[in-house]
Amino acid sequence: MDEYINSFIDETREMLLALEEDLLNLEKGGDEDEIIQNVFRTMHTLKGAARMYGFENMESLTHEFETLYDQIRNRQIALSDEIIDTTLRGKDVLAGMLENKESGKQEKEIIESVERYLTQGQEKPVKAPVNKDSESSSFLILLSPDKSVFERGLDPNKILDELKEMGRHKIIIHEPEQSWDAQKANKICETSWEIYLQGKHKLEEVKDVFLFYDEEEYTVLDADVPSSFSEAFIRSFFQKNYREAVDIERHTLENFRELADLRTDDGQMQRSTEVLVKEENTGSENQAAVRSKNSSNSTINVASKKIDDLMNLVSSLVSSTAELKVLAEVHKDYKLNNAIENIDKITKQFRNNALDLRLVPIGTLLNKFNRHVRDLSVELNKSVSVIIEGQETEIDKTILSAIEKPLLHIIRNSIDHGIESGEERIGKGKSEQGVLKITAFYTGANVVIQVQDDGRGFDLGKIKKTAIEKGYLEHDQQVSEKELLSFVMEPGFTTSDAISKVSGRGFGMDIVKKELNAVSGSIEIETEKDLGTFITLKLPATLSIIDTLMIGVGKSTLLLPLPEIEYCYQETWENIYSGENDYLKYHDMMLPFISLSSKFNSESDREKDEMVVVINKYDKKYGIIADRVIGEHQAVIKPLGELFINQPYFSGGSVMVDGELALMLDTNYLFSQLAMN
């Protein structure tokens, strides 16, 4: 299909040009009916073609316009200058999509406008003083999900949200003693819902919402066709949810009547009511208002000291719970174990919530740089525009503070050394204004920040020259681009002839790297002469408590970060040590490895098998050979004291349940050791 894609693009481009012409004619007052028909047809054709070639965003945008022009040609909506204008803008966005241009925001605005035109068109019949129009139908929906519904990856709230969208509704929530929020937190669903819905949807469409639910969990009945439901479910539903006997027919009728009252209440176009019924008390209270307030996005400022204290408490709680778990396992007491399991579950949630408290959007920092860039570019007499993306990405406050200086340094470097002066840029055929782009996003458990400039790039020749001068390299030594760039991060390495006022010399790339390593982050540089530089920082999203794998070497217990572990397996002593090279066969690859027992001079037993832990960090794989794999451990990692300051192998330590210290291996350092061999 790929070979046809170019012809699709060409053809679409032509159609868009014709469309533009049509629209401009329409604006000038050409033959309205005929042109509208044309526009409709073009949108329809484009939609079909876009779908075939996988241009999904194009498909949805043309779909919107198709619907709009369909209603315009049927005179349900009057054509306005505004609509023509929106269509023209839409045409531009569609043309952009062909070239894979990012236009998400514009696209959204246009879709919103179109949708507004469409709803305005629809409001007319609603305003008409008709009590009941024949197109609307009424449904009684009962939903009583299985307790374990969350464990199937489902959330009943989504169902309700979708139903609420479908029309006027009254929802009666049957809630047990535990509040819905608590049920959600504990992942046990005990709530049932009665939903009275009036809208323009068909029975099948309403049923579609329950696609992932079992027939024993819900029923949808068309109130206009009363025989369409499973009577048994309804009876058991009402019996379960109302302790007193309920006259189902009357109850249902009353609720539908209330819904009908809502629609004729012209003064207030109320769409919904929600009634919460606690199973224990019969009185019903309207908590809908309270609920919606809870979900609003207000924030409060808390002194970071308070959060730090809370984190320390949570850390202790996590350790103590783990301790309790180990102790209880000895007793094999079913009830005790159950209770502890519950505490463990709550503790974990508590931990996650507490960790969440520490997360702040990266934008709070990145937006600060806007100003820096402006000031710097004025100072250096360069014109630079800044693009910041992904401000909403959240990261631990501690990490955010730790990366402020390194990031600022990188940005200064880019503007000072990377981006050329306006004249030089024009000489190179670039636009006068330089571009600095900062992007933040998540990958797995990490947050990535990329700083990209379109400047002159690193001078690899100069780096090589300096590296030779400083004795890192021999004169005729072959060296890869990556290795050259890694010299930039060596202490005291500078290619700058003069000390610049802006970047200075005090804070070099070596310090950037060190500061990032201190928060378990890493840095990678890519550069292309005269095209620019691309610096990628990878950071963990949270600190403090991490999931680790405990391994044993000799008498000591060591920790490895669990997310970096790809696989563990057993291997015989001979297979590991009798080969000539330090490589293991793993799947189809040769895996370099480090033996901890030889690294730390402990005896390893020839008779026993060794454990191979395969580390996969940023797509680099290597093996670590340990004596034992002990198990998973949620470690509260604390920095090591002065005593350990000069050793590179460990990045922190955690006090174990038995009071012993387990050291956290620095997988970055181990890898660099391997790379050196």
């Binding site: 999904e56 374990s148 992942k187 079992d214 959007p361 996003f441 999931d547 572990i565 996969n616």
Partner: protein, 125 residues
């Protein structure tokens, strides 16, 4: 803030062509797709990193779909993510069975791509 983050789906299917079709479909929908050809190979993905959904074949060598689901659901991090199991089996009450297996849905193979997309959308929206 969730919107800008691409969701990650792990697809496990031993028949390469089907896997590629599913992968392509999901990628066109804007998801990040990681693939594996059997349950055992897929285990490496469940290492604590973020996974938003799992789509797995039922009959596979080494580790079949049921065993994989059992493994995945044991992990706290993946206890509540949607899981689809693909199977050629025709059962009268698939949702009942899904409920028992603690998965989101049984998807009958072969399936219509448009229907499949609808299911994925519904599970992840």
């Amino acid at each position: 803030m969730e919107e800008n983050r691409k969701k990650r789906i792990v697809v496990i299917e031993d028949f390469n062509t089907s896997r590629q079709i599913i992968k392509k479909t999901l990628e066109n929908m804007g998801f990040i797709v990681d693939e594996a050809s059997d349950g055992r190979e897929a285990l490496m993905y469940f290492n604590g990193s973020r996974i938003d959904m799992v789509i797995t074949d039922y009959n596979m060598p080494n580790m079949n779909g049921a065993e994989l689901v059992q493994y995945v659901r044991q992990k706290e991090r993946y206890k509540y993510i949607p899981i689809f199991v693909l199977s050629t089996e025709t059962s009268t009450n698939k949702q009942q069975k899904a409920k028992e297996a603690k998965i989101t849905a049984w998807v009958k193979k072969p399936f219509d791509i448009q229907d499949f997309k609808k299911l994925v959308k519904r599970a992840l929206d």
